[in-house]
Symmetry: C2
Subunit: 362 residues, 2 copies
Amino acid sequence: MFLKRIVVNNVRNIKEAVLEPEENINLIVGENGSGKTSLLESIDILSRGRSFRSNKIAEVQRKNTNSMAIGGILDNGIKIQYKRENAKVRLYLNSNETKKQSDVSKNIAVQSIYPNSHQLIEGPPSERRSYLDWGLFHVEQNYRDLWSEYTKTLKQRNEALKSQKGNLAPWTEKLAASGEKITSSRKAYFENITRGFFDYFEEFLPHASNETPLSSKAISLYFSPGWDLNQSSLFDAIEKNLKRDLEKGFTSVGPHCADIRLKLGETDACKIISRGQQKLIVCALLMAQFKDYNEKTSNKSIIIIDELASELTLELQAKVLEKLLDAKSQVFISALTDSSLAEILSDFGASVFHVEHGEIFG
Amino acid sequence: MFLKRIVVNNVRNIKEAVLEPEENINLIVGENGSGKTSLLESIDILSRGRSFRSNKIAEVQRKNTNSMAIGGILDNGIKIQYKRENAKVRLYLNSNETKKQSDVSKNIAVQSIYPNSHQLIEGPPSERRSYLDWGLFHVEQNYRDLWSEYTKTLKQRNEALKSQKGNLAPWTEKLAASGEKITSSRKAYFENITRGFFDYFEEFLPHASNETPLSSKAISLYFSPGWDLNQSSLFDAIEKNLKRDLEKGFTSVGPHCADIRLKLGETDACKIISRGQQKLIVCALLMAQFKDYNEKTSNKSIIIIDELASELTLELQAKVLEKLLDAKSQVFISALTDSSLAEILSDFGASVFHVEHGEIFG
């Protein structure tokens, strides 16, 4: 799906804005502080109830107002809405109130690239688990339920460990059963994504040679499921750690400890490569997801890119945009007024929206 | 002072590089991953023994080598050197080994602006205390000794609080005495810097009007000394908190809790302004320091700027460079090969160094 209409009310310096975006590429241009990022942030909040820019949603609401609202209409006619009134959040799907963010989120597959998104590579493992789970949530019907069951059981087992009460075996059995299913989904998904990743990565770094350490031959991606999959079943792995778990009061192995590792030869890649290179790797990882999503659902995904220009040469910016179009995404991308990106974009038939003091001029 | 010669060995992808920089502006250009940031990082390590890019110095050293070295010759003939051999760091001043980083640092006043430097505004108070202390350390002869005395006494008082043993009064008295001196230095320095800050800030935002929230009329800077200076002396403030300090085991008021607050109307500015605007504010704060340093010591300071182009319009990049020259700084600035910054810089008579696969071509 893609967004046909976006309405934003009282988000940071945006009082009211209506955007009717293009199916493919939309460029949001403006001076520093004009409201470009706030517009992209609005799409992020609409899709997942959170902002890539701030952990505190109260900070997002325009000063001295008592409500903010973001609404969207998708090409399939579905209407979604995020409202915050007197510090209370309400979500609507086709004008009906819904309690669950996932009811809204499953209708709109949004990912974002912003100045901090090298966190996907440098940050904690939870970032990379979210990456995997984003894909599975949007592609596999029952993955979310499986995951809910797993986290609920994990919580119950951890409580039993902490209180040192009750029989742990039933929790362990249940946890291992859903954990094995999650891991098998993640593993299959990861293998599929990896192929796509390397294709994009090769395109972004065509000049890679023996002289630069960053070539697709030198780089490798590993999925680490959260226990030693080759050594034992998850049940056995949990049982083996029982003594330690009782001491620490939590379950120390399982899908909640999974990670993806990116290595350059023998070393963690994030310790060697530059920020620009990290950005390209993040782009390749996300595009591999989009391609998979498009192939499996024949739907478009939406990508928000705040400041693609930072730290990438023009040639690479053009390459990324070209590949985003191949991956069948609706793209929202911000740039400074005098950026060379605007020139490249006109070749791609992008719609350009100008932002000034929080107002949009189409 | 300024750097006349820099020699870099085994820093990240730089095997060996020699740079003979210009007194004013030096542009380091290269593709993604060519080694631009590594070169800037080397200057940072040379000046303060740490890197803005990594907390672990071991990660900086080129793979599969057992030593790295960075050397510099200043215009006054002073030679400084940072060496790391078999994981052991050695510092040299004019070829004599020295144990103290401050012996090296006081000869070379370096500050840096890099993609994360909005931390100065968004980050913890310690970032802003370091900012103040950088200036005082380079301008006031005995500030470093004063600060050493304060932190030593603080440690002793905290140990006495934790062990609940001994008479606290002598520590409190000594702590209050040096704390008052530190605060009076910081306060005077802050007032001086604030004037410079607003001058630069006005230059960077000449279009500020009632329509944009970010104008020099709306913004204000406050120095918070770490206790209520207007209510009581530091001695009284520490005494007043004695009960709480005994419970918590540390001294809860004093210069170690100082901060600078940046407000826009009634709100913390960092919650409202954009990343580009934060970057401009950081530039204005650092330039105010450089100007003060130059006026008081008639020395040049050195500024390292990694990716000035990110998130700033061309007009603002040019403005920043112009003001840096006014502030009498030696500037090292990185940019992508096809950046428009290179054009602006030729107007300023900058030296351009090309970096390819960690090698420098003058």
